[in-house]
Symmetry: C2
Subunit: 212 residues, 2 copies
């Protein structure tokens, strides 16, 4: 549990950092504010997860430590080349993370579940991203192919880092697949979860006007 | 009034941006989180000021526009050379801005005054800055002179940009010094305000272990 909260907390903190970096590159003050709002919301999530760790008498920084490498690697491998790639990363990444949290929340105690579910509703700003990306594709349809490829790379990289985490963190995989003392998801359930994640990813892509 | 809120809003947005840049340079994750918290709080202030502008039927981006140049100039002239300078800028800048807001809040309508006063209490984190700066000076007393000079430069630059704004924005200075239709502060009142700002600045400096 501490492992899971630590992983989520570091992901949120890291998302905050990348979004603020991207916001610094915004082509207008309106765009900057939109991305900064998403960043501030991620930081709010981080604070709640950190406080939960503290209330569980865990050291939040120690709990986050094992996740530095995979999360940093994800961001290193998915550095946006321009503003549209930043927007898509924010939108797709945020959506994927939210879906994943909702999936695993089912396996947690009620307090932690409520905490996680209430943090999911206020990043907002996604309609801003959808509008900006659709407008850019309308103005120049040629970019749609590159952007679709970009979103696929984000999804692939997220899955590969998630796999690495699962392989290295026994406690975390036990939470999902169960242990001797309690049942978890079987492989079929994991497959169904991945199918659901992939389905909502496809929906997000089509809202952006992109092929998944 | 729109002018004043626009100026405050752009200052907060800009403070958010600079703090996130500084947070990216933090020597540890704990330090990064501390500065990111201050940044997120500034962004919260920005959002409240922007919403107030919208409720006054003003375009927040147009209202902020006249303040881009002086606020950006302030930051260009006060780029921190290292992490300690970043911390001091965050602490001294935040404190000075808060004092200034409290002073001018007295001249505003009750709703706007309440908005401004309630935004002032949650940046927190200042005890973190005080502790870090005092520890650094303890470890190496030689740096105290340079840091004191740095804080004086921050104060001087803030005053000079504020003066420029007052000279260029008649509506804003009228709010402070009054106009034909209503009284404002006279020169003696402005002098007293500056004396109060300077006094609390000196208190902050001595908490940091620095000479003002």
């Amino acid at each position: 549990m501490v492992d899971l909260l630590g992983g989520l907390a570091y992901s949120e903190l890291s998302a905050f950092e990348r979004l603020t970096e991207d916001a610094a590159q915004a082509p207008s003050l309106e765009d900057k504010v939109a991305l900064a709002s998403m960043a501030a919301a991620e930081f709010g999530h981080f604070e709640r997860l950190r406080d939960r760790l503290v209330s569980l008498e865990a050291d939040p920084f120690a709990a986050m430590e094992p996740f530095h490498r995979p999360v940093d690697a994800f961001h290193e491998h998915t550095a946006p080349a321009d503003w549209l790639e930043s927007l898509i990363k924010a939108y797709v990444g945020d959506g994927l993370a939210a879906d994943f949290y909702r999936e695993i929340a089912a396996y947690l105690d009620a307090d932690t579940r409520d905490l996680i579910l209430t943090t999911l509703d206020d990043t907002g700003q996604s309609s801003f991203v959808v509008e900006r990306v659709r407008k850019a594709i309308e103005a120049n349809p040629k970019i749609a192919g590159r952007l679709a490829l970009w979103a696929r790379r984000l999804m692939g990289e997220a899955l590969s880092q998630a796999q690495r985490v699962a392989a290295e963190r026994d406690a975390l995989s036990a939470l999902l697949v169960g242990g001797v003392d309690r049942p978890g998801m079987d492989l079929a359930a994991i497959a169904r979860m991945l199918a659901r994640l992939s389905e909502t990813h496809t929906e997000r892509m089509s809202r952006l006007g992109l092929q998944a």
